[in-house]
């Protein structure tokens, strides 16, 4: 559906050269909700803007449904863009136009007649659950409602692909959830292929079946979401995955308000249990077979693509060799165990 091969893009600024994309390749299949995560400045927006050529890559190929579009002229490109909807972090609605007129905008451009426009806008507003706001202006809407209008507008020409650049980043958690549900519904009901950019792992976890992790202009890792969550290969992916299980509570349990560690003994580990592993009595065995004391500091379970991933922060005390043995045992059992340095008090 979308195939990017060897994209490069360098910006020449007064401050110097910025390599925003370095040999980036990405393949999105029909029906995917493909997530791209990365920290600020990683090149995510540049990447997604290359898909509809809002940004022209310096080199590389952009294929939509097998058509190489980088060589297209303005007219052809405009036609191609009709089949690719796009939504943005700041909604980008026409301020001086009503909800109806905003959604009608691409239809008017396509010279549809009045009847058709009224019918289509009606359907679209129904789809995004905003039928009661037809004649409101954007300034009278909440962030979530604005994004719904933007989604309706992006779908007006019946695109097969939707690009979403941080579409939920300006929204609160509940509104984010409702927009994500909407995207998922569109994906399932309309068969819409979605490429979405985010810096929140939580968004990926909720809706994406595939994900790519970007760092400094390159994709460091990509693939099936569940696999990436459970078997991250690179440091940055691990950091993103951990961000999901991180909790304020852990810090509060471990440290005094003045920052001094509460526990002088033992080593702190973060354990990730995947799927059926979660039900085996691993902790009990580790205590028994390796003569260690294990106290559970904090635990939670997150669903990734409908499958559970359990997270436990545990403090293990005992002989060094026994602790190492217990960890070995966890790892053999497919549990991801990462030690956290409590003395340094570094980022949890």
């Amino acid at each position: 559906m979308i195939e990017l091969v060897g994209l490069n893009k360098t910006f020449h600024t007064a401050a110097g050269e910025v390599a925003a994309l370095k040999d980036v390749s990405l393949k999105v299949d029909k029906g995917d909700i493909y997530g791209v995560v990365g920290f600020s400045g990683a090149g995510k927006s540049t990447l997604i803007r290359c898909v509809n050529l809002l940004e022209k890559p310096d080199s590389g190929s952009v294929k939509i449904d097998g058509r190489e579009i980088t060589a297209y002229g303005e007219k052809q490109l405009a036609k191609e863009r009709e089949g690719i909807g796009m939504i943005f972090q700041h909604f980008n609605l026409l301020r001086n136009k009503t909800v109806f007129e905003n959604v009608a905008f691409p239809l008017r451009y396509a010279r549809k007649n009045r009847k058709e426009i009224e019918k289509r806008v009606g359907e679209l507003l129904e789809l995004v659950d905003l039928s009661d706001k037809t004649s409101a202006y954007p300034s009278q809407l909440s962030g979530g409602q604005k994004q719904r209008v933007a989604i309706a507008r992006a779908l007006a020409m019946d695109p097969k692909i939707l690009l979403s650049d941080e579409a939920t980043s300006a929204l609160d958690p509940q509104t984010t959830e409702s927009i994500l549900q909407l995207l998922k519904k569109l994906n399932e009901q309309l068969g819409l292929t979605i490429l979405l950019i985010t810096h929140e792992m939580d968004v990926v976890r909720r809706v994406c079946n595939k994900v790519a992790v970007m760092e400094k202009g390159s994709i460091v890792e990509s693939g099936d979401t569940f696999r990436l969550f459970t078997q991250p290969q690179s440091d940055i992916t691990r950091r993103f995955v951990d961000s999901l299980f991180r909790s304020e509570a852990v810090g509060e349990v471990l440290y005094e308000p003045d920052g001094a560690p509460r526990f002088q003994q033992g080593r702190l580990f973060h354990l990730l249990f995947v799927g059926d592993r979660a039900t085996d009595p691993h902790i009990a065995r580790a205590i028994r077979d390796y003569r260690t004391d294990i106290s559970i500091i904090f635990g939670n379970i997150e669903m990734v693509q409908g499958k559970p991933i359990g997270s436990l922060y545990v403090l293990i005390d005992g002989q060094e060799a026994d602790i190492d043995g217990a960890i070995e045992y966890f790892r053999r059992e497919g549990i991801r165990a990462t030690e956290i340095d409590t003395r340094g008090g570094d980022d949890l």
Partner: protein, 226 residues
């Protein structure tokens, strides 16, 4: 009442017909020059906007040349502009005097100013909205007409009003050097014959006109802001 008025404003009463005719002339000058100036200002302001860095037709060369021309004419004192344009004005409209003769320099005096203001309101258009339209495959011309202009409506209205008001000022100045309208009326009677009442009444009339236009403009701009 009328007796009281004729002692207070003797010359105004005597020349009231000429005064009313001058008001009409001022309106004529301002409206004709305004129509030209706003049209040209909109065209030039649009060119500046789209050729500016990051614009739809980015072109540094066109932008900086136009920008320099606009700025240099703008910084020229109006009286000097009138003098400079005398020959051109005569060639274009046949005379450098009267209403006709005043309109040409008025247009020249006001276009750079209007262009600047229109450019400033158009360039404020949210880049994201333009980008969203680009992403939909909308043509650049359509974006100018259906995104940039409508999004800038309040700013454009304010630019229009300010431009008209500045033209009233220019019309008065053009009046002093042979144009028509309230300016020349005030000079002829108020200044050269030192009939103070004429000057005062002319000023009051100008203030009233300017205030009315300004309030209408503010009202329209506020209504256009959604």
């Amino acid at each position: 009442m009328s007796e009281y008025l004729s002692t207070l404003l003797p010359h105004v009463i005597t020349y009231q017909e000429e005064l009313i005719a001058s008001i009409g002339e001022t309106f004529q000058m301002v409206l004709i020059a305004g129509a030209f100036s706003v049209t040209l200002g909109l065209i030039l302001g649009t060119i500046l906007t789209v050729t500016d860095t990051g614009g739809l037709y980015e072109n540094r060369w066109v932008f900086s040349v136009l920008d320099k021309i606009v700025n240099s004419i703008r910084s020229m004192p109006f009286v000097i502009l009138i003098a400079l344009l005398v020959t051109f004005t005569r060639w274009l409209v046949g005379t450098s005097l009267g209403i006709k003769g005043a309109i040409v320099p008025m247009v020249f005096g006001s276009v750079p100013f209007t262009t600047r203001m229109i450019y400033q309101s158009l360039i404020e258009t949210d880049r994201g909205v333009i980008e969203a339209a680009r992403a939909m495959g909308v043509s650049r011309l359509y974006i100018i007409l259906h995104v940039i202009y409508p999004e800038s409506r309040p700013g454009l209205i304010r630019a229009l009003v300010t431009s008209i008001i500045s033209l009233i000022g220019l019309s008065a100045m053009a009046g002093t050097v042979g144009g028509g309208g309230l300016g020349s009326f005030a000079i002829r009677y108020g200044y050269t014959r030192y009939w103070q009442d004429i000057t005062v009444v002319t000023v009051i009339i100008l203030l009233i006109i300017i205030n009315i236009i300004q309030s209408i403009g503010n009202h329209l701009a506020a209504r256009a802001t959604k």
